[in-house]
Point group: C2
Amino acid sequence: MALEFLKIPDDDAVRVPAEPLRKQVASIFVAAGTPERYAQITADALTLASLRGVDTHGATNVVRYTESILEGTFKSPQEIEVISESDTTALLSCGWGLGHPAAHIGMEMAMDKAAEHGVGMSTIRDGHHIGMVAYYAMLALERDMIGIAMTNAGPAVRPALGRQAMLGTNPIAFAAPAGEENDFVLDMATSTVASGKIGLARQLGVPIPEGWAVGAEGEPITEPPGDRGEHWAQNPLGNGREQGAHKGYGLAMMVDILCGVLSGGGYSSFIGSGRNMSFAMAIDIAAFRPVDEFKEMMDEMIRALHDTPTEPGADRVLVAGDPEEEAMKDRTENGVPILQARYDEIVGIAQRVGAEVLI
Amino acid sequence: MALEFLKIPDDDAVRVPAEPLRKQVASIFVAAGTPERYAQITADALTLASLRGVDTHGATNVVRYTESILEGTFKSPQEIEVISESDTTALLSCGWGLGHPAAHIGMEMAMDKAAEHGVGMSTIRDGHHIGMVAYYAMLALERDMIGIAMTNAGPAVRPALGRQAMLGTNPIAFAAPAGEENDFVLDMATSTVASGKIGLARQLGVPIPEGWAVGAEGEPITEPPGDRGEHWAQNPLGNGREQGAHKGYGLAMMVDILCGVLSGGGYSSFIGSGRNMSFAMAIDIAAFRPVDEFKEMMDEMIRALHDTPTEPGADRVLVAGDPEEEAMKDRTENGVPILQARYDEIVGIAQRVGAEVLI
C-alpha cells in the first residue's frame, strides 16, 4: 500500500531499548543547560512518542531541539510563568524555551483544577514545538479523567477554497480511559496528514498520494517541491469542497482560536514558522458518573466497533489508539527502531554538549 | 456544481417572514401540550436554523416533532431534570421529550458556571433530536464566551476500515465571537456530509457525489438504496484510509464519548435510531484575556483568511459562519423560503392540533 514508506525499514535501523534512550535524551538536555525537571519531562514525552510508533515526534528530535537551544532559538534556561489563573483556567507563558515542559505543566494545572472543580483548562503562549499532543491528553488517563490537548503551528495548510498555506497542521488529541480494552487515544492533525509524513516522503524521494497537497496555483500535486509557503500547501482534512475541506479547515481554526487567540500568543499565520501556542484540558469523569460505569461503557462501545464487518481488503476495524498500543508492545520488548543516520546524530549531539553516550 | 441540489428552488417555494414563522411553530407546540417556555425555545432554535439557511434543521421540522409528540414517541409534557451537578459540570435528563429545551437549559447552566468559575459543561441524556447544534454554541456569543455543542445520534456512518453503520453523524459546533467581522461559527457533521443532504438528494432523485457513502459490501455508491443500516452507510469525514477517514471516525467517537458515555445515555449503536444525547460547554474569554483584545485578534485572523488567494474556480475564501450570515441577511429581509408541500404540512399540523394559522 502507498503508505508503506512511513514505516522505518528494520534492516537500516538500530533497535535501542526505551530506558537508556530516555536517559540519553534527558542527559543531553541537561548538558545543554536545561533544568533537570524540564529535561525529564521532555525526555518522557519524546520516548513515549518513539514507543508508540510516532517516530516523527520521537526521541530523534533531541537533536534539533538541542541545536535550537545551542543556537539560542530556544531560550535556555526558560522561565515558565503563570500569567493569569482562575478556579478552572490558567494562562501560561512558555518563556520561548522548550515547548514540552510548559505544555506538561499546563496539563497538570488543568488536571488539578478538574480534580477540585470538575473541569480545568490551560492555554500556553510564547512556545515552541510540543511534540506528540497525545502525550498531554494521556496524562489525564492515570487520574481517571478525559484529556484534551491541541497546538497550533506556523502556516502549512491552505484554507478551503484557498491556495496558500495559512494554517498550521494544528493537531487535536483526545484521550478517554477504557476498562479492559485499550484506552481511546485520538491524535490527529486537522490536515489530511501530519507534515512529518510529507517530509519523510520527500526525504525518501517517494511521491505522496493525491489529495495531500496543492501547488502554487492550487493544482493537486504528488511531488512537493522544496519550500512550502508560497510554493505549495497541504490540504485540510476533507481536501475538496464536496468531501468536506471546510470541516478540516474549520477545525484548524478552532485549534488556532483555543491555542493562539485565547492565549494572545497568536494564530498560525501571525506566529509564523517554528512557534507553537498550545491548549490543554481535563474533565473529571467522576463529576458526571461513577468511573467504573464509564469504563464499562467504553469497553462495550470499543468491542462493538472492533466487531464491525470490514471494508474490502481490511483485516479488522481499529479504534484510535490501537495501532499505537501495538507499536508500544513491540518496541517495549524489542527496543525503538532508529535509522542508523539518526542514531549517529544523537550520539553526535551528546558528544557535542559533553553528555555521556548511553545508547 | 454538483451540490446545487441543496438549494431550495425559489419558484417552488413560499417566502415566509421569520417572526410569524417563529410564532406559528411555538403555537403548534403549545397546542400539542408543550409548556410555553419549551415551545418558545424550540421555535427560536428552528427559526434560527431556517434564517441561517440550514433548512434540514429548520422550521419545517415542527411537523415531525409534533407528530412524535402526538404519537407518544416524544414524552409530553417532559420533565427536564438535573441528575448531578458540580461547580462546573451538570448532568441533565431530557426526560425523553423534545431535545431542544434540555440542550438549551444545559447550555445556560454551562454559561452560568463559566461566568462564575471560568468554564462550564453539561451532558444531557434521555433525549431526542436537538436540531442545529450551532444554535447552542451561539448562545455563548452574547455573553462574550466561546460556546461548544455536540450531539450523537443513531448509526448512520461506518467506522474507518468498516462497512456497516455504527456511528451517528455526530456533529460538533464551535462558536467564538469576533469584533467587526462575522463571528466564527463552525457547525459540522463528523461524516463527509450531514444525513439530511443525502436524504434531500434521494427525495429529488439526484445522485450524490462519490465519497459520501458505501453499499452493503463497502463499495462506493452514488445512489443510496432505501434503508440505511444494513444496506448502506455514510463515510466518516476523510472517507478513505489515505485521506484520513480514521480522523472523521475518531471525531465521531469523541462526540459519542462526551455526549453518550460521559452522560451514561449511550453511544450511537447503543441508543439506536431517533435518540440523541448531547453535550454543551462554555469558556469565559475574560478568564484568559480582555475580551476586546480577543475580538481584535479574531478580526485580524479572519481578514487574513478572507484575503488568501483562491484555488482555481473559487470566488473568495470563506470562514465558518460566512455562508450562514449571508443567508441570514437575505432571509431576514425576504423571508424564509419553504417548499410549497412543506408549507402545506405546517398549516396541516397547525389545524390538526387546533392552533391558529399564522403564516
